[in-house]
């Protein structure tokens, strides 16, 4: 009960009036669209990074927002912006995968010597997240790569705080187990 109440309070703390921003952007307010970009680029990037290399994922963000901008006036439910944008991003990703024009995965390229060991660990961790069930991949990337909190993830994606919390918890548990099994992380 207490956990549920905490979820509600936490999510309210992070509520941004996305609907108002979307309405303003639909009216041609470029600054409002810029705010939407600042709020949602991390979510879109996580969706892309769960499936593509880092360079392609960055391109997907730009293309998804360009498509969103072109189609924004057709969005009727302004409060459904996050889910609508995520659907656009998944279509862009499908186009990239279908066209087979993916670039060499920059995050598996050799790194600078000074940070080679850490880069290798980072690539291993990213691969391990990508190998998780789909339902865990995106929230974990939003949390661990983009630095979003659970309530922010829930607000952006339109998922309930409860389901995001469960998926973060289970995904992290599974990730921790796999990294320990692979020997990249010591057991506590």
């Amino acid at each position: 009960m207490l956990t549920r109440r905490r979820d509600v309070v936490s999510s309210l703390e992070h509520v941004v009036d996305t609907g108002a921003l979307v309405r303003a952007a639909q009216g041609g307010d470029r600054a409002a669209f810029g705010e939407l970009y600042a709020l949602y680029a991390g979510m879109v990037h996580s969706i892309a990074l769960a499936r593509l290399g880092a360079d392609d994922a960055a391109d997907v963000v730009q293309e998804a927002f360009l498509r969103a901008l072109r189609q924004l006036r057709r969005l009727r439910d302004v409060n459904a912006f996050g889910g609508w944008l995520a659907a656009i991003a998944r279509n862009v990703i499908r186009d990239v995968q279908r066209l087979g024009c993916r670039r060499a995965d920059a995050d598996v390229e050799p790194a600078h010597r000074d940070t080679q060991h850490e880069d290798m660990q980072a690539r291993t961790a990213l691969r391990a997240i990508r190998a998780l069930p789909a339902v865990y991949r995106e929230p974990l990337l939003m949390r661990l790569v983009e630095g979003m909190t659970g309530p922010e993830i829930a607000h952006r994606t339109g998922l309930t705080p409860g389901s995001v919390r469960v998926n973060l918890h289970r995904g992290m548990k599974l990730l921790r187990r796999r990294l320990e099994a692979a020997g990249t992380r010591r057991r506590p």
């Binding site: 956990t3 936490s10 952007a25 639909q26 009216g27 041609g28 307010d29 470029r30 669209f33 810029g34 970009y37 680029a41 991390g42 990037h45 990074l49 880092a54 994922a57 960055a58 963000v61 730009q62 927002f65 360009l66 498509r67 901008l69 072109r70 189609q71 924004l72 006036r73 057709r74 969005l75 609508w84 659907a87 656009i88 279509n91 995050d107 850490e118 880069d119 660990q121 980072a122 961790a125 990213l126 990337l141 949390r143 661990l144 790569v145 983009e146 630095g147 909190t149 659970g150 309530p151 919390r165 973060l168 918890h169 992290m172 990730l175 921790r176 990294l179 992380r185 506590p188």
Partner: protein
């Protein structure tokens, strides 16, 4: 459920494994600005984009 407050809110006592992954994976964080030069204004975009994408149908 175990205490996952840090994983959930990034507050409280940091979980070592979560903190370690945050530090490692931060390098992949998206920091690029929107390439506005390529973007039409929302009003002009509607008429310029005659072919709708799948998600808007």
């Amino acid at each position: 459920m175990t205490d996952d407050e840090y994983l959930w809110t990034r507050t409280g006592v940091p979980d070592d494994a979560v903190r370690e992954l945050e530090c490692l994976l931060e390098r992949y964080r998206y920091r690029e600005p929107f390439r506005e030069a390529a973007a039409p204004t929302p009003r002009s975009a509607e008429s310029a984009d005659a072919a709708p994408d799948r998600e808007s149908e």
